[in-house]
Amino acid sequence: MIRDVLKYLSIFIILVLSQGLILNNIELGGYINPFLYVLFILMLPFETNDNLVLILAFLMGLSIDIFTSTLGIHISASVFMAFARKYLLLLIRPRGGYDSGTLPNIQYMGLSWYMTYSIILVVLHHFFLFYIESFKLSQFFSTFARVIMSSIFTLILIFIVQLFNYNPNNRK
């Protein structure tokens, strides 16, 4: 238990720092800005208390917002993502439910399940984030392009991070 808490705490800190100090400086063509920090919400275990997921998402968003001085925007988007996560997990539950001791990653759940899971949540998060940020319908299409491009970039980064943990011999 305490090991898990320490593990997720260190992942939290690493993701906040890498987002705040490195990834926020990356931008391609003025459109593409990856938000890898959402990986934290994606990787929380299935058994995590739903309310705890919301609160962790809130803290994650707050930490990112403090770095970018955009108070509220990232909080709102990540809380929304945590909210959607609960219902998405119910919706795409494999037959027989989730085995205890498994985690939402490619290793345990397989590529296609993970693709559905991560693509839906990341796109929802980015959609929410960019529309709150621009807050104008007049820029609907340019914002939409930002959503799509950034989501693709974030997803690529998420999959790359997953590959570091992937071990084909260890498959359950």
Binding site: G30, S69, L71, F83
Partner: protein
């Protein structure tokens, strides 16, 4: 009462979600309206210091450009120096201090964090209230206008750059003197739109756009950029003008914070005349 508690605990997930969203939006609105919430932005002590040390490392990679910039600026200052003017027209040139009244002074500051990819971009500087910086002061660099100081902490200040979709800068065309307002529409960090220039003004591509000095935040005739293209929409009285910034926000490093010495006097006079009008 018991039923209420039961209802709340049963739907605690949805209520918690709504509460957290409410807090987020409340923060969002609060942060936009009040300029004083310095606690939770990048001018706070912890993040500000972290950015400062990262910037310290980054600076080494930019030394070449900074040196070039500084020497260009030195050359410019040298040529503007009184000593390089003397005796061209004989001995009539004289400096009399009493006829010149200093109206602006400048504090040099270093950029420790900047962004160009958002709709609302902010820049963090390494000087704060200890160095006499206050909110609403202008920020310029050797290449042109940068933005306005929004929040100040003891050692850092956070600057709202012109790359901010809610910021309007009063600007004029240097050649003809007609003025309008410059807004950034959030697409390209090199370009902004100049509005409210009437259709009878003669424009050419490459015209210089400078500040007006109306607001006393910026001195007059500080460079903003040049006209890249313009067109006149059918049936409209005002031009659509695209201005290319003279400043590149991606490699901003040394800036000056402008302090207007006459601002209070001007504002006082203006409020007095407005009050008289009301009466």
């Amino acid at each position: 009462m018991r039923n209420l508690v039961k209802f709340l605990t049963k739907n605690s997930f949805i209520f918690l979600f709504l509460i957290l969203q409410f807090i987020a939006f409340w923060m969002l609105v609060l942060n936009n309206n009040y300029q004083n919430s310095t606690v939770f932005n990048s001018s706070n002590f912890f993040v500000g210091n972290m950015y400062a040390s990262i910037q310290n490392i980054n600076e080494y990679f930019h030394l070449k450009e900074i040196n070039k910039e500084l020497s260009e600026q030195n050359a410019k200052l040298q040529s503007a120096n009184i000593s390089s003017f003397v005796k061209v027209y004989g001995s009539t040139y004289q400096i009399r201090d009493t006829s010149y009244h200093q109206s602006y002074n400048y504090t040099a500051a270093k950029v420790v964090n900047t962004s160009t990819n958002k709709r609302q971009n902010y820049i963090t500087l390494d000087k704060g209230s200890l160095n006499g910086i206050k909110a609403e002061m202008g920020v310029i660099s050797a290449q042109g206008v940068v933005g306005i100081v929004k929040n100040v902490s003891t050692n850092f200040s956070s600057v709202m750059s012109i790359l901010h979709d809610k910021y309007k800068l009063s600007a004029k065309i240097k050649k003809s003197g007609y003025y309008g307002s410059l807004v950034w529409e959030g697409n390209n960090y090199r370009e902004a739109q100049l509005k409210d220039i009437p259709n009878h003004v003669k424009l050419t591509v490459g015209d210089t756009v400078v500040t007006t000095g109306f607001s006393t935040i910026f001195p007059e005739n500080i460079l903003i950029g040049t006209i890249k293209e313009f067109n006149l929409p059918e049936g409209d009285n005002f031009y659509n003008i695209t201005v290319t910034f003279s400043i590149d926000f991606k490699n901003l490093s040394h800036v000056f914070v402008v302090r207007s010495l006459l601002k209070e006097e001007k504002l006082k006079l203006e409020t007095v005349s407005q009050q008289e009008m009301v009466e």
